[in-house]
């Protein structure tokens, strides 16, 4: 005998079908071009408006928007052959989640039918998003996913304008070696991006003659690194190289202080170039070196946004805050796409792809040209040092504004 009522199943049926029917999902937010254009180039971007990358996601969005507004309002539209096209960017929030960004990228391609894609923030999200792009044969230019894994898959459609992870520590280590440093210790978070950076660091250490005394890893979300720093302190190295996330940077400096660990230099991959680092740590942040993709005092220049500092002024006027490198590289990403379209003279995927492969240009963000894996092989990593509480660009030497202080005196 059927002792169960049929109601629940009917409800289930309706729920599922209803779910399917109504799961239309959010419509993408867009910036529509206003003006007299022969057509519109539609570009899609899934960004982290919420979630752990919310902060950076906002920077990326502002970078992309700054470009779009400039193209539509000042530049007169992208040149496609003899015509000028307005640009429209379609945005979705990926919630800093890998599954979501893949889904949204697909939506941009199949439902919104964008012409090109701009990358999300973070290597992990870029991994997923770019895989979708490649599978649909859609070009993605990105500027916020530096992990080597992004470029190690033999993809043809993914191009990254930022300096890849393996080269993050190169210029800093070179400068330190020249200043006399000989020994080093490494500590990093055991996830994709920091691992890439530190594998690169070990290569550069070998190239510049460093002796690596110890390597330690820690898991995501670590709350205590006392054991690591105790070991390091006993080894007394010249240079400490470390990295993971902003949390870790704070933890490093407070722990170093507590244990009396005083190497001649601290190189931390994520944190120091963010003003909040010096802000939160006060004098504990003094002298810390951090790689940076871009600083506004660098003397790169182009005919579109001018010098780095002119770009910064424009950004500040628009968004009421100083641009971070995430914002700058986002504008540069979009600019690169534009230049490729103009060089190709069309919106055809194959033509634009070829144009990207052949591109070789200096922008306010730095030189951009791609190797066969899609990496930007020509852009050197900059680095800053916190001097008197200020973020000061000390490398690469030809664009630096001050000298590297080594060793840290106390």
């Amino acid at each position: 005998m059927n002792i169960r009522s049929t109601r629940p199943y009917a409800i289930a049926a309706t729920a599922i079908l209803g779910g399917a029917a109504l799961a239309a999902g959010p419509a993408g937010a867009t910036t529509e071009p206003v003006g007299d254009f022969a057509g519109t180039v539609r570009v899609g971007a899934a960004l982290s408006e919420t979630g752990r990358y919310e902060r950076e996601g906002e920077d990326v969005r502002q970078g992309y928007d700054l470009w779009a507004e400039w193209v539509n309002d000042e530049y007169g539209g992208i040149r496609v052959g003899d015509d000028r096209y307005g640009v429209e960017i379609v945005y979705y929030d990926d919630e800093s989640d890998a599954d979501t960004v893949a889904n949204l990228t697909e939506r941009l391609i199949t439902e919104d039918e964008v012409d090109f894609l701009l990358g999300p923030y973070g290597s992990d999200l870029t991994m997923g998003s770019s895989a979708i792009a490649e599978q649909h044969d859609m070009i993605m230019v990105e500027g916020n996913g530096a992990s080597e894994d992004v470029f190690a898959r033999g993809f043809q459609n993914v191009f990254g304008v930022l300096t890849p992870a393996g080269n993050y520590t190169q210029s800093a280590l070179q400068a330190l070696a020249e200043a006399g440093a000989e020994t080093m210790v490494i500590a990093y978070e055991d996830t994709a991006f920091p691992t890439s950076v530190m594998e690169g660091a070990q290569r550069w250490a070998e190239e510049y003659g460093f002796e690596v005394l110890a390597i330690e890893t820690y898991p995501e979300g670590v709350t205590d690194v006392t054991a690591i720093f105790t070991t390091f302190r006993d080894l007394d190295p010249d240079v400490f190289v470390g990295g993971g996330h902003f949390n870790d940077a704070l933890l490093f400096m407070t722990t170093a202080d507590e244990l009396g660990f005083e190497p001649n230099a601290f190189v931390i991959t994520v944190g120091p170039s963010n003003p909040e680092f010096a802000d939160e740590l006060g004098e504990l942040a003094e002298g810390v070196i951090g790689p940076t993709q871009w600083e506004s005092v660098m003397t790169w220049e182009d005919e579109y946004f001018g010098t780095a500092s002119e770009y910064a002024a424009r950004y500040e006027e628009r968004w009421d805050e100083v641009p971070t490198y995430q914002a700058a590289e986002s504008t540069a990403t979009a600019l690169t796409l534009q230049l490729a379209i103009e060089a190709a003279g069309s919106l055809e995927t194959d033509a634009v792809r070829t144009a990207l492969q052949e591109l070789d240009v200096e922008t306010f963000y730095g030189p951009i040209s791609f190797d066969e894996t899609g990496k930007n092989a020509s852009k050197p990593m900059g680095f800053i040092q916190i001097q008197d509480g200020e973020i000061v660009t000390v490398g690469p030497a030809d664009v630096a504004e001050a000298e590297l202080i080594y060793p840290l005196g106390e």
Binding site: R55, D224, A227, I228, F246
Partner: protein, 292 residues
Amino acid sequence: MTELLQATINGVAIGGFYGSVALGFSLVWGVLGVINLAHGELVMVGAYLTWIMHRNHGWDPFAAVVVVVPVMFVVGYVLQRMLINRVIDKPHLTALLVTFALSIIISNVVKLRYAGTPRSVRAAWSGSWRHGDVTIPVTRFWVLVFTVVLMLALWAFLRYSRLGAAIRAASQNREAARIVGIDIGRVFALTFGIGAALAGIAGMLASPLLPVFPTMGPPLTLRSFAIVAIAGLGRIHGALLGGIVLGLVEQYVATYVPEYGTTLGIIASFALLVTILVLRPRGLFGGLRPAH
């Protein structure tokens, strides 16, 4: 040998901090019978309060206790009256789910207000004391001292004050306590308030040691559970002991295993939790109530 000594010092130091976190958790569980999965979030709120005082008024974290205690006590009292009260006589799953939902709510509210950027606080007593090859971190030392004082104060309160007696009575036998005229509802609310205040103090102690951010809570809650499992429920000195055991395990593994030590230390501490629960369901030193 000095490596062992240093690792022991590190373990005791962080263990003292873990103990302070477990105090409030243990008290609430022991008296109300509620496993508060939002305990870590209460700690986090205490840490934020401390940071706010430090950032906006320049207060030293240890001084923030005068603000943290009353604020967190009120927060706890109100939470108990409004919400926790409804799960007290329900099965454990209800309490777990409700407090879990509460933890999500609290961490998201804080995130909306203060964003996810991690914060840091520096105590005036900081740096380290060197003695030959051994270093004692100053702030952690004082955190340990504070924890011990706190425990003694709590013990004395429970032992010698009227309210303390009422709390102990309520936790031993609710019906009998009611019969002798104790207002159980009020006792529960006050106890939860005290538990929240203890959590707030733990957060205050955390702020110079760890980065402060909205989702820092869950690992602390999980560690509190581990400590109670090790040390038994409602035992105040047990919280400190349990914390130290946990801290030592983490530090020994992290120190002696190269490269992957820190990760293994975390595995070890959770494996320890599971092992103890399985082998000695009453906790390592007895005292855990059997679940029904």
